[in-house]
Symmetry: C2
Subunit: 235 residues, 2 copies
Amino acid sequence: MSPKPRANDVKERLVEAAIRLLDEGGAEALQARKLAAEVGVSTMAVYTHFGGMAALVDEVARTGFLRLSAWLAEVGETDDPVADIFGLARTYRQAVAEQPQLFAVTFGQTALGGKRATLSDLTTEEGREAAQEGLEAFGHIVRATERAIEAGRFRAADKYQAAAQLWSALHGFVTLEASGHFGAGEQGIDHILIPLGITMAVGLGDTVERAEHSTEAAKAAWRARTGNAGQGGND
Amino acid sequence: MSPKPRANDVKERLVEAAIRLLDEGGAEALQARKLAAEVGVSTMAVYTHFGGMAALVDEVARTGFLRLSAWLAEVGETDDPVADIFGLARTYRQAVAEQPQLFAVTFGQTALGGKRATLSDLTTEEGREAAQEGLEAFGHIVRATERAIEAGRFRAADKYQAAAQLWSALHGFVTLEASGHFGAGEQGIDHILIPLGITMAVGLGDTVERAEHSTEAAKAAWRARTGNAGQGGND
DNA sequence: CGCAATTTATAACAGGGTTATGAGATACTG
DNA sequence: CAGTATCTCATAACCCTGTTATAAATTGCG
């Protein structure tokens, strides 16, 4: 009933190789033949394990979401929920900055046209334990937002709506920055992302002073987590 | 020296047909052979006029930006700059909602990986008359932001930085909504976009009362410009 | 050990972008 | 007005990439 011949992990290696090809050569390097050669199998492996390139790319996109969620999970919680939100933002941005090709697929699949897990249930009614892949990342933002409301930093409001606002602002910044707007390097963080974070926090009920303080706390925590400068070191 | 044989507008018709195919059949319908058949020419036309499909797709992406700019230009200015910003937001969102496939290309080309006109000069220093395609749309937001600052609605600050924040929030919302998060139809506007607009305005210095008032003004102006309901009617 | 099920390599197929090639059409030149 | 350069375009082929038969190889189980 369950012969399961090879104990080889060809399926996983295909996804890993796909992400590698993606990072190195961009979307056009993600080809069945190159992929097979990279793993050392024939192109048939793509079809026995996934059914086609489309499904494999879907799996790559899903992997991107999972990695993002995993990174966000590492941020952890402090007694300053607003600083935690800023920490999530920096992490979200860092993930995309480090693997732009991967997240181009991850967001490109779901963005504009593709239909994925709708978040409508979450934003319109209560939680719904619909923790589908992509929503896990959103869940981290929701929980931090909830704590900010409980701490009196944000005006009492629907946590899902507030979190969706924060997610929109963050996702928009990250997307536009990755497009090359906002300039290269880290300047977008200081010039746009941090002011945007303060704007959002204040708009949601925080005071300017406390929001700015949380900004500094987040920056310090970031430096502690990563090496020293504001640079890399996530993986 | 300049024979210019055919006065035909094959080049323009190719772009128009490409957008039509895109809207009707999605990205995978955008093929050289289908395109040629649609226009009534051979595939060679793609190469004599563009050099290849890639350049044609670039032109399609550029056309999307131009249309977006044209729509934003129609919003006009009132004595309530914050309401004007909300009007720009509704228009930006409406454009993407009506032609998701087109703007998937427009943003997809520039988003995450592609390198286009960098906006860094605008946000880091002064204006720079670098009004490249994609930046025209941003220019509308900058001008409205400038008026909001002059009117005392927004705290005095760098208008480019403030506008970039607004653009991030707006672009993020539109992108995520188009992905299917935030639910279908118009509910995302009331549940997320309008609260997000108030959050941003308040965070930038406006009062809650005035921001909410501008929200209503923008909604009324929107109903006046479009038919009656919150639905279609842009093109 | 046989038998069923699965994986895999080989090779061919199909459909897309792209590229010679030459004919047709236009505007400048003499 | 004839000639010519130049551009446009249709045909047909080419190449690359995803995909699909087909059969061999491998594994688990009775």
